[in-house]
Symmetry: C2
Subunit: 332 residues, 2 copies
């Protein structure tokens, strides 16, 4: 074990079963959908685990709930803090609300007003900071020092990783046996949790990560054998811009061999395909695994393939503006 | 019995159970979804029967399949014909494809190319006609005379009405007991079938139709006690522009007391709410019942309310154009 991994600790794959027990009925057991058209298009049988139907519209609720339930009474009394402008923010806020734990979310001042409002709607205190990594870390550290909050990191946290693994655990019950499970990778919490769930429950199933070609830091990190930060990549899959965390990386580098990629064009095409054929709303990040299957980066011929559809939170403003515009025009 | 209804015949509510048997596993048993947020917003418990997940993306497949399975061998050999530029066109085409019956669909020359392509994709022969009622009826009559096709009318057909009733039949199994079932009404096939299903299976459940305020011919027809044609109304709920058919009207006028309405603004707001909160893609027509519940036209306080979400076929072009436009702009 390297010095680094010793300093961050680890969890065994048995922790996923404990997370399943712990979060129990506080999370939705989301459905698994299939489509003949998609299967014909890619040559395998795909099973879509619909975490867009999860509470707050994303798998992130699993990790947040698993973390918050493990706080000590003293920690619960002082509250939890996180930093996120995405799904994890709302996940921690709602997990806090349903367990009676106060929560604080540090968000960059550039975060969309709608995201801030949604997080506050779940009862969290939102604190703004400058949109830099340094400002965010300082703001979180200050608040922890002053208020005694406990940090629930979006992905670099063993409790969060174990919680995210419960989605694959359920999927393996719902669509057993699976040759392959493909999940999107940003910070790596979902991929690491999935790899642990598979190690515990179905060791013959392969786990593959999928990320935007424009933000392929996980692929490069696995090749290099060390974490390569992602810079500030531009991709429509905005949930996957993050660099890999140390804890997720320590699991992924041990259990995952392959990270596949898809271009933004392919991601948008796959997202549209899912909207049209499955009639479900998925966000761009959630379409990345399907894009990487359709573009051939992940061969699935004659395989049974689980896909975790990570979330469905997407700003519909431009969509409805386009619809209303078109309708007004066609009836002018 | 009036002269008119004598000339059109009738079916008993027992016909719905026979339709359920007949179409069996050829149709999807669609899921029922719920949302705490929607329930809190309207004060009742709503159960959404997701026919957007039905084959061809709409309940119309039920009626088309029930009709095509009742053709005689001679009729099957000669094929089936219908006129529609909407979901019924694809429903008849796919029902024909899966049963080996050739199909022909008469479409106005103004129908979107994508609808024509989808219908042809399911194997139907598409014949264009001028976009007038007279041209459509003449074209259909000519083709029947020449080719021996059997007509499967989109809603003024007992076999179709019975097939549409199977959605409510399933819903009553899935969400029993229900105080109320609300369905959209255009030509009236779904509403008439639903009323028959409820008469057979749950007579204490009330059935209410919902239509666009801009196309409220069903409401006016029920008030007047006779069918009032709809003219050519402008509404975003383009599946509901049709006038009531005689056969649906004969059932609806006997079993349904109330038709509620919603404005186009309310329909679009309800549609957006469903997309955002349920993460499912529904078409404007499918959002009309929910719009009429949210706007208070249908009181649901403390009631258990079934809603048939009729379909999810909507052109996503303006949606994705808006998304791509916004994304390019924000990264310019």
């Amino acid at each position: 074990m390297s010095v680094e991994s010793a300093s961050i600790g680890s969890i065994s794959c048995g922790e996923i079963a404990r997370a399943v027990e712990r979060i129990g009925r506080r999370v939705h057991q989301t459905p698994v959908l299939t489509s003949k058209t998609l299967d014909e298009r890619c040559g395998g049988r795909l099973f879509l685990k619909c975490e867009n139907f999860q509470r707050v519209g994303a798998f992130k609720f699993r990790g947040a709930m698993n973390a918050i339930l493990q706080l000590s009474d003293a920690e619960k009394a002082s509250g939890a803090i996180t930093h996120s402008s995405g799904n994890h923010a709302q996940a921690v806020a709602l997990a806090g609300k349903t367990t009676g734990v106060k929560t604080c979310v540090v968000m960059p001042s550039t975060a969309p007003a709608v995201k801030r409002a949604a997080t506050e709607g779940y009862g969290a205190v939102v604190v703004e900071c400058e949109p830099t990594l340094a400002a965010r870390e300082r703001t979180v550290a200050d608040l922890i020092a002053r208020e005694g909050y406990t940090l629930i990191h979006p992905f670099d946290d063993w409790r969060v990783i174990a919680g995210q693994g419960t989605a694959a655990w359920e999927l393996l019950d719902q669509a057993d046996p699976l040759d392959l499970i493909v999940v999107p990778v940003g910070g790596g919490g979902l991929l690491a949790g999935t790899a642990l769930a598979v190690e515990a429950k179905s060791p013959r199933t392969r786990v593959i990560g999928a990320e935007p070609a424009a933000a392929d830091d996980a692929r490069r990190s696995l090749s290099a054998g060390t974490i390569i930060p992602s810079g500030d990549p531009l991709t429509v899959a905005d949930g996957l811009r993050t660099s890999l965390g140390k804890r997720p990386y320590s699991i992924i580098s041990r259990l995952v061999n392959t990270i596949a990629t898809a271009t933004d064009r392919e991601i948008l095409d796959a997202m549209r395909f899912v909207w049209e054929r499955f009639k479900i709303v998925v966000e761009p990040s959630a379409a990345v695994p399907i894009a990487a299957i359709i573009n051939g980066s992940i061969p699935v011929q004659n395989l049974r393939v689980g896909v975790i559809v990570s979330g469905g939170n997407i700003d519909l403003d431009p969509f409805f503006a386009g619809l209303i515009h078109k309708w007004v025009e066609s009836n002018a």
